[in-house]
């Protein structure tokens, strides 16, 4: 996801948290997006009062009725993905919400506050948009990426109360992130999480975004996961984890990843593993197809899965933006049904309920289709069906895996746009014969239909698979860990951190081995003849 060299071009020491970038747009992002706020100050709460005068349709007047989610982005990678997420989320809501009214859908990820006149912290629940603030916590143990965000076009979406930074980094050492910074910043983290949570009236889910290979995302990211479980046991914890590739140049990345895996095994409700190689090949594929000329002219504007077109981002694109956009889209599609209406809603709590048959087997392989939409004709069903086929192909998975040739424990299809239940049924029937499902879940399909498509598309699909195809990623990680661990290479860097024992390593690797073994046992049932348990017999 990120260049693994920890050094960043952005100046560190001299950038303060106050906005040094030219801040000419007074009302900031909300104005840019929704055409509200700005020069003529209407009485605060005016919109709210007008709305309050109508008979409230539901529950208590003025209260938001949907659930909210909070994004916790940790480390360089986590923050870069998070940044793309917030940008594209604003783009998506701006495309749907033409009137500039702060609505239920927006409230799930954004607060609406009036920052004029010294900036009160009170939420405005109804009426027009003043200033949107992301429900987010940005954590990094160095300042580069976060400062860059604060100087960039998204600066108005965050404020200093949502940040936790340090200056010295975690040195690609899980122990430094987890043990050292974890203990040092625990109070701080809890306080800021509580404050973020207090602004939600029904907090449903935390999304943690981090990478596995480095020190901060991996170590402190999983520390935050523990804190979330302790402090908010009722709130779901979805983790987006970027796994290092085989050629990763952080030499200790296998240690960091395996140590982090133990925490994910034990404390996450769902993990969405991502591999840079997969993102890279998807980006290349899109690039190849759109620049080949044949398709180039007909690809619909804004419809590239990697596109930032129409987003607030004005500076030149960075090489990793396209890749990060894919992950941002994953999160947007995952939460679409919780934000927008549809004929078959799929709430976030339904994801773990349907896709996690055993507590530890909560790793979901995801794929997004279509990669782009052609502008020429309105969707022939052949193309719609292609979207479903692609979602199961090896090339579209966000990790290097082949679900078709492995065993499905469960599969969810989250569809957006102009798609009906008959399209879903036809495609499930069509695809089912080519997929292997575990014997006790032969019909393990969960579906959701959200009527609002992503920007630039008429329809889209996010497939989530609980599939034994994640196993190679884990075994490869284990092998790379063992290569280092046998030689005790670099161990001393970890063991000199307070609270880090050698047992942390042995426990982590056995946790990973157990997980792999659970997948092995399921894989073994694939070849075994289908024996069904005999039913209860009622004596007559």
């Amino acid at each position: 996801m990120v260049p693994s060299t920890p050094s960043l071009a952005v100046g560190r020491a001299c950038v303060s948290l106050t906005r040094t970038a030219p801040g000419t747009r007074g009302a900031g992002l909300s104005e840019a997006w929704f055409g509200v706020g700005g020069a003529s100050p209407s009485p605060v709460g005016g919109g709210g009062a007008a709305a309050g005068a109508r008979a409230p349709l539901l529950t208590a007047p003025g209260a938001a009725t949907m659930t909210q989610s909070v994004v916790v982005q940790v480390g360089q990678c986590g923050n870069q993905i998070g940044c793309r997420f917030w940008d594209l989320a604003l783009r998506e809501h701006a495309a749907v919400n033409k009137k500039g009214i702060y609505d239920e859908a927006l409230s799930s990820f954004f607060r609406n506050v009036d920052t004029r006149n010294g900036g009160g912290d009170a939420d405005i629940h109804k009426g027009k948009i003043f200033s949107l603030k992301a429900r987010a916590l940005l954590i990094d143990m160095e300042e580069g990426v976060v400062n860059e965000i604060l100087q960039g076009p998204l600066r108005d979406v965050f404020d200093s109360k949502q940040l936790i930074t340090d200056v010295s980094g975690s040195g690609n050492n899980w122990a430094v992130g987890h043990k050292l910074y974890g203990y040092q910043y625990r109070e701080h983290i809890v306080e800021k999480l509580r404050r973020t949570a207090e602004h939600c009236d029904c907090l449903q889910c935390f999304f943690v975004i981090h990478s596995m290979g480095g020190g901060t995302g991996s170590g402190l990211g999983t520390f935050v996961l523990n804190v979330l479980e302790d402090e908010f046991p009722e709130v779901y914890r979805f983790v987006t984890s970027v796994y290092p590739s085989g050629e990763d140049d952080v030499i200790t990345s296998p240690y960091n990843s395996v140590l982090a895996m133990k925490e994910l095994n034990e404390h996450a409700d769902c993990v969405l593993p991502i591999e840079n190689e997969s993102l890279f090949s998807i980006v290349s594929k899109i690039h190849q197809m759109t620049s080949s000329g044949k398709l180039g002219s007909t690809v619909k504007q804004n419809s590239l899965l990697t596109s930032s077109a129409g987003s607030i981002k004005t500076e030149q694109e960075k090489p990793f933006d396209a890749m990060n956009n894919i992950v941002a889209n994953l999160l947007l599609n995952l939460t679409s049904s919780a934000r927008f209406e549809g004929s078959l809603n799929m709430d976030l709590n339904e994801i773990s309920m349907n896709l996690v048959p055993f507590p530890r087997l909560h790793y979901l392989v995801s794929s997004l289709t279509p990669l782009y939409t052609l502008a020429d004709v309105n969707v022939p069903s052949r193309r719609l069906d292609q979207m479903f086929s692609d979602a199961f192909s090896k090339d579209h998975q966000l990790i290097q895996a082949d679900p078709k040739h492995s065993l499905y424990l469960a599969c969810a299809l989250l569809v957006r746009g102009n798609v009906q239940v008959s399209d879903l049924r036809r495609n499930i029937e069509r695809l089912k014969p080519s997929l292997h499902f575990v014997s006790w879940n032969q019909e393990g399909w969960k579906t959701g239909l959200c009527s609002v498509p992503p920007v630039g598309h008429s329809h889209s699909l996010l497939a989530l698979a609980n599939n034994t195809c994640v196993k190679p990623t884990f075994t490869e990680l284990k092998d790379r860990f063992m290569k280092l661990y046998k030689k005790k290479a670099h161990l001393h860097h970890y063991l000199r951190v307070d609270g880090m024992e050698q047992s942390c390593f042995s426990e982590a690797i056995s946790s990973l081995s157990d997980l792999i073994e659970e997948y092995n046992q399921l894989d073994a049932t694939k070849s075994a003849p289908g024996t069904y348990p005999s039913r209860l017999k009622i004596a007559m």
């Binding site: 539901l58 009725t65 949907m66 049924r425």
Partner: protein
């Protein structure tokens, strides 16, 4: 007498809306094809059943809407209000922010008890608006968490709070695959609980209705709305006013009571199925004519061959010859050809209903040995045509039709249960393995027709 409808969960609320809408459309139909007086008393009876009067003149549905998340209810309330012909009472709904997450245990053990008082208050208020209350009609799916879990809980509460009222549960049987992965667990838990608290369960299968949409209605891109409208049409065709006995001078006052009396002669058998004929797109309807003997012949064969629609009926299936009775408790694993009935109710609406010969339904060979056709077969009629159909016939039957479906769902759930998959999701909310076992036992008993008082020996 009036019926209070309780709509639960996304599916229940969407179908509930379509039912009121279908009833209201039929109410305003200019295709009644009967005398003005007839039409007026039909409308009068319909209003009393389903709507309360309002000062504004817009009828208000006698309904309570319940969901654990807000999107569906707010959508349902507003589209009903926009229709201008009827609306929901804006006080008569309850929703929360976070759904039950397809988890029956969450709906039944957490949300149910937590919100019992508010919901039962709404129900009480709605019931008090009725001069006379016939009973409750609950609409829910078995697959999800709110409709199924909350639905089972609310049904028990209704049973406790209104011991003398009838309770009919409209249960939507999920598609065989693709809706909710834990749907078989949720269904087993729902059915076994409803079995103990409802007077009767009326079952609609999504798969069957989907086929009707594709083959009879000719819909290319079928939406949930299409499916729900077919269900609503079928329900309306039974619950709109009729004369429930020969020579009756006024419309039946107790639709639910009459229904139970006709169709549930034994508390062990209370799963009802619904078929109707004709059913087609509005376009084809314009160019079609029907004869009663043709319709009745098809309807009868749909019953005995267990077909859900008039297309693709197996005409080879015949009732057993006298003296060679098919055992009514045929093993569900063997292919069921002939569908034995316990009781049947035929509802006829439209032109010339007085002249219709229903002798074919009085054949004793259609029924179990313990009930004769005089008791097992009832007819409701009205000359008022229903919903643009000049003639329409509906059949509600208490028969073996569900055995195979039930066996299928119980089998799949049991298979999953044996591997303990997903069980942790339920124990998290207080439904333990023993509770599952109890539910499996109840349903296996229901399938064999063994009463709860027969001593049991289980093996598995």
């Amino acid at each position: 007498m009036s019926i209070v409808t309780v709509q639960l969960g996304q599916c229940g609320n969407q179908i509930g809306y379509e039912v009121f809408n279908a009833i209201c459309n039929d109410f305003h139909s200019t295709h009644g094809l009967c005398s003005k007086k007839e039409n007026e008393s039909y409308q009068e009876a319909c209003k009393e059943r389903f709507f309360s009067e309002e000062k504004t003149g817009v009828p208000v549905a006698r309904a309570v809407l319940v969901d654990m998340e807000p999107k569906v209810i707010s959508q349902t309330l507003s589209i009903a209000a926009r229709s201008g012909h009827w609306r929901y009472d804006h006080q008569s709904h309850f929703c929360q922010k976070q759904g039950s997450g397809n988890n029956w245990a969450n709906g039944y053990s957490v949300h149910g008890p937590r919100y019992r008082d508010v919901i039962m208050n709404l129900v009480q208020k709605e019931a008090e608006k009725c001069d006379r209350l016939s009973g409750f009609f609950t609409v829910m799916s078995m697959a999800g968490g709110t409709g199924s879990g909350m639905g089972a809980f609310v049904t028990q509460c209704l049973r406790d709070a209104f011991p003398t009222s009838f309770i009919l549960n409209q249960v939507i049987w999920p598609y065989g695959t693709g809706e909710v992965i834990v749907q078989n667990y949720n269904s087993v838990l729902t059915l076994s609980h409803l079995y103990q608290s409802a007077d009767a369960l009326l079952v609609h299968e999504n798969d069957a209705i989907h086929k009707i949409c594709a083959q009879l209605m000719n819909i290319k891109k079928i939406s949930f709305r299409d499916v729900n409208q077919v269900i609503a049409h079928q329900l309306g065709s039974v619950f709109q006013p009729t004369y429930s006995s020969e020579g009756a001078s006024q419309y039946s006052r107790s639709p639910l009571g009459d229904l139970m009396e006709s169709l549930v002669p034994h508390p062990e058998f209370k799963m009802l199925g619904l078929r109707n004929i004709p059913q087609m797109s509005e376009n084809s309807l314009t160019y079609s004519t029907f004869t009663w003997p043709g319709l009745i012949k098809h309807l009868r064969q749909m019953l005995i061959a267990n077909a859900k629609m008039e297309e693709g009926i197996d005409w080879q299936v015949r009732p057993p010859l006298p003296g060679h009775p098919v055992p009514p408790k045929a093993s569900p694993n063997k292919a069921l050809h002939f569908n034995t009935s316990i009781a049947n109710l035929v509802v006829l609406r439209g032109k010339d209903v007085q002249s219709v010969d229903l002798g074919g339904f009085r054949d004793p060979a259609l029924y179990t040995s313990w009930l004769n056709p005089q008791e097992a077969f009832k007819i409701w009629k009205t000359p008022r045509a229903f919903n643009k159909y000049e003639k329409s016939a509906s059949l509600v039957s208490n028969s073996q039709f569900l055995l195979k479906l039930m066996d299928n769902i119980v089998g799949k759930a049991w298979n999953m249960f044996a591997s303990k998959a997903y069980v942790h999701q339920y124990t998290k909310f207080g439904i333990e393995e023993e509770d599952f076992l109890d539910c499996f036992t109840t349903l296996e008993q229901a399938q064999t027709g063994v009463g709860p008082f027969v001593p049991l020996k289980m093996s598995y």
